[in-house]
Symmetry: C2
Subunit: 309 residues, 2 copies
């Protein structure tokens, strides 16, 4: 094959791929209706956490096997969309995506990191796991460490726990007085609205049942290769189950805004939870609709230069 025909073939292939890929990014192409999942899980007016069945699989017509297949399909689309956003940022774009993940212990946050976020090129991912604040962090306002962890241009930022702990554990264990935590909802909404100017924010709560948590903690205790994930403190938190559900109800309803909506993901079925978070991310990226940036150089001139070298 001559060099010219090779280049022509590559261009043709690229064009075909671009067309296929544009079609593939349409949210409506999801199998078994998975594309409808985000709208069904979004927290809107009158939301009641207690009415959400953690064992349900809203909006998906398939079983576990179908769900795992749909997850793999989604993974390819997500990876492509993130690469486009990254490419856009190399050409001066400033947009990014932030996924906030919350949930009770054992709700499957780690699995989301591995199986959903793991689908994206690690070069474009920025994960922060927020633990109990350090002395330095406590010396600043509660959003200080959050601001420092926001995603850069083109990145998918992921928070494994977040500033919501400051209205969850901080409220349930009264780490700060009610007068302090009760003002934080409005502070969070203002903060997120500001961040949303450059960053598409989506927030998911992985919702498991009390019984499911018991079974998962039991499995961690039964398996030597899971002991490292177990912390006796988890049982102390479990004693406050109802208080946590109440704190979640308030966080979800007070802070689900157009700029930064909450999605409550039934998570007793891990395959469903992963698929649902994948769909939420796909919708977020599809809304941004990132495009491959145009060349900022003279393509023909560079081709001529290359031929000489």
């Amino acid at each position: 094959m001559t060099k010219k025909s090779k280049a022509e073939k590559a261009a043709k292939k690229a064009k075909a791929q671009l067309e296929t890929k544009t079609a593939a990014t349409a949210a409506t192409s999801s199998p078994k209706g998975a594309g409808r999942i985000p709208s069904l899980l979004r927290v809107g007016p009158g939301f009641d956490l207690a009415a959400v069945d953690p064992a349900s699989t809203p909006g998906f017509r398939g079983d576990r096997h179908d769900g795992e297949e749909a997850l793999l399909e989604g993974a390819e689309r997500l990876s492509e969309l993130q690469e486009r956003l990254w490419a856009e940022s190399r050409a001066g774009g400033t947009r990014s995506v932030l996924l906030v993940v919350q949930g009770m212990d054992t709700s499957g946050k780690g699995g989301i990191m591995r199986h959903v976020v793991g689908a994206v090129d690690p070069q474009g991912v920025n994960i922060t796991a927020f633990k109990a604040p350090t002395a330095e962090e406590r010396a600043h306002d509660f959003l200080w460490r959050i601001r420092r962890a926001l995603p850069g241009a083109g990145e998918l930022g992921v928070f494994d726990r977040s500033h919501y702990e400051d209205v969850l554990i901080a409220r349930v264990l009264t780490l700060v007085p009610r007068t302090v935590w009760s003002r934080r909802y409005a502070t969070i909404n203002r903060f997120e609205a500001e961040v949303a100017k450059n960053t598409k924010i989506v927030k998911v709560m992985l919702h498991i049942s009390r019984d499911e948590q018991k079974a998962r903690l039991g499995e961690r205790l039964a398996r030597p290769d899971k002991h490292w994930k177990y912390n006796p403190g988890d049982l102390d938190q479990r004693q406050h189950w109802d208080a946590y559900q109440g704190a979640y109800q308030d966080a979800l309803t007070k802070c689900s805004t157009d700029a930064a909506p909450w999605y409550v993901v039934p998570a007793n079925e891990k395959w469903y939870a992963r698929l649902a978070v994948m769909q939420v991310l796909l919708e977020a990226f599809s809304d941004l609709d990132p495009q491959w940036p145009a060349a900022d150089f003279d393509v023909a001139a560079e081709q001529a230069r290359l031929a000489q070298l």
Copy 2:
């Protein structure tokens, strides 16, 4: 099923998995001889870069299809080994792994990040891409920014380019005088020996031919979805091809130590390069042989507490 029998079943399953996994971590189990790859690619005495055929696939008896299959198998083992190292660090372990990736433009560094490093849980990965140093970075010694990017306990750190640029581009373009860059090899060896006390270091150079680079640059120019990856400066660097090969020869031979060995990976075949880097990483993790940490709590007591909650 009663709760007790469920826990018993989980324990049995865990035991079976632990046994399978221990077997799976043996480097000798690699298909088509892939486990032999690292020893064949390691830079030892008398190494000559010019004698390495970039189109070769040393130590692997299969074709591209076999290689892709072996990569997927390796991915599972790598993911498991990294999780063990991470678990070890949660129990107080301080060990980590650092992969340094170098290579000419288009040699496939990005593909290594996506297809090899991407196999690992993103929570345990810490990638740093080193660009031309900023003003702040230039105000410090050349290892300053490197030290700040070293992996934390339990992490797989990855450098996409590294301190070796300070004896590659810095030497080829004489960004610093010869008296400066010529002293850096010894400085690097001392630095890496220090780091190696806690961190298993492996360094790979992706080795492509001059013709292969031309073809890959041509493809980037031919495909609109690849234009963002193209930089006219790449052609300026290409003009210095021979000088770069000479600089690599010196870096490889002066800085391949027991504490931080270099591996030269023939990279004209992308599938082979990815498989080879996977094998280098697998060997590094296998050498560390991380184990699930023992519980630091009374398992039976916790099981009794859980039963009450």
